[in-house]
Symmetry: C2
Subunit: 166 residues, 2 copies
DNA sequence: TTTCTTTATGTTATAATGTAGCATTTATTT
DNA sequence: AAATAAATGCTACATTATAACATAAAGAAA
């Protein structure tokens, strides 16, 4: 399957937003089927909402959106769906923002590396093996066994930087 | 000034805990004086409490301890002191734990790199220029201007790993 | 010194984020 | 069809963090 849009790295201003979402949903659906995971309507809907933002979404933002078509939704509704989506690699939690973003490379490597623009709040996913390798190497040197490495880089994306400084 | 104890990297089981604390306080005091910052009794006490744990401390844990000798302390009391301490590099916030640890290298580089043991909850500070450089390089390649890079590695420290797997 | 100004702290209330626990429903297996 | 397991509904609550305004303390200017 070939996808026309970049699900990785930093999202470009003019990119096709809806296409990202529909591709992500399709990938999740397929992957769940092949793994025997239950991609329920609720989980699907939450994933859709997360992607619709194409930027970090707080759990309560998601809850608000979810309530548009599901009035009885409560915090656990969202948190449980997110738990499933995060556990299975369809969504990442950005710890420094207490927010969630769709994973641009579900199923592949999951290094958990993010570029967070402090201006437009967009998040780019890096998934860089060299970064992962250096972290692994240095940790190992200290006898530390790496389980889940996280890199969250706050800064300024190219678009915002250009807009600000020419 | 030479310090006998390792304020950096992963704390060893037998290390002199109190010495870490007193050294960290001394460093903070000196640095504040030289920079014209106000190292008030409250801020000093909060820093002391953070170091006393020698592991990540939640804001409300700190508040509890603070109340032992300051009954009227409230959340803003602690959060404001922490804000000062973080801003000036004496304390780091571990985003993935919503907790705070004393900075082992106040005043030097502040790469914000942490090894977090999921077993004993100890946190080691890395401060590795190679890791920082790779992140910087890869971000730059995407036109991203790095402001504050954070690396939080969840895993198992040598002590816990040895204890578990021989 | 005395006043002015800034910075820090006190205090109350509330916002934002996240979970526990148990009932009910829906799916899967036997 | 019955039994089991998984997911969701739902209430209540726990944890983390901040807003807003009053007071006090420190530093700068007169």
């Amino acid at each position: 399957m070939a996808f026309s849009n970049q699900l990785n790295t930093f999202p470009q201003p003019g990119h096709d937003h809806d296409l990202c979402t529909s591709e992500a949903l399709k990938i999740a659906e397929e992957r769940c089927r092949s793994l025997g995971l239950r991609f329920t309507p609720l989980r699907r809907r939450v994933l859709e909402i997360v992607w619709a933002q194409h930027g970090p979404a707080g759990a309560y933002d998601i809850l608000g959106k979810l309530r548009d078509d599901k009035q009885n939704a409560a915090p656990p509704t969202v948190y449980r769906a997110l738990e499933f989506l995060v556990k299975n690699g369809f969504v990442h939690k950005i710890e420094s923002l207490n927010a969630f973003v769709g994973c641009g490379s579900s199923g592949k490597n999951h290094s958990g590396q993010f570029l967070i623009c402090g201006k437009c709040n967009q998040v780019g996913e890096l998934d860089d093996t060299e970064i992962a390798a250096v972290i692994e190497k240095k940790a190992k040197r200290l006898g530390f066994k790496v389980a889940r490495p996280t890199v969250e880089v706050l800064g300024l994306c190219e678009t915002c930087d250009t807009a600000a400084n020419g």
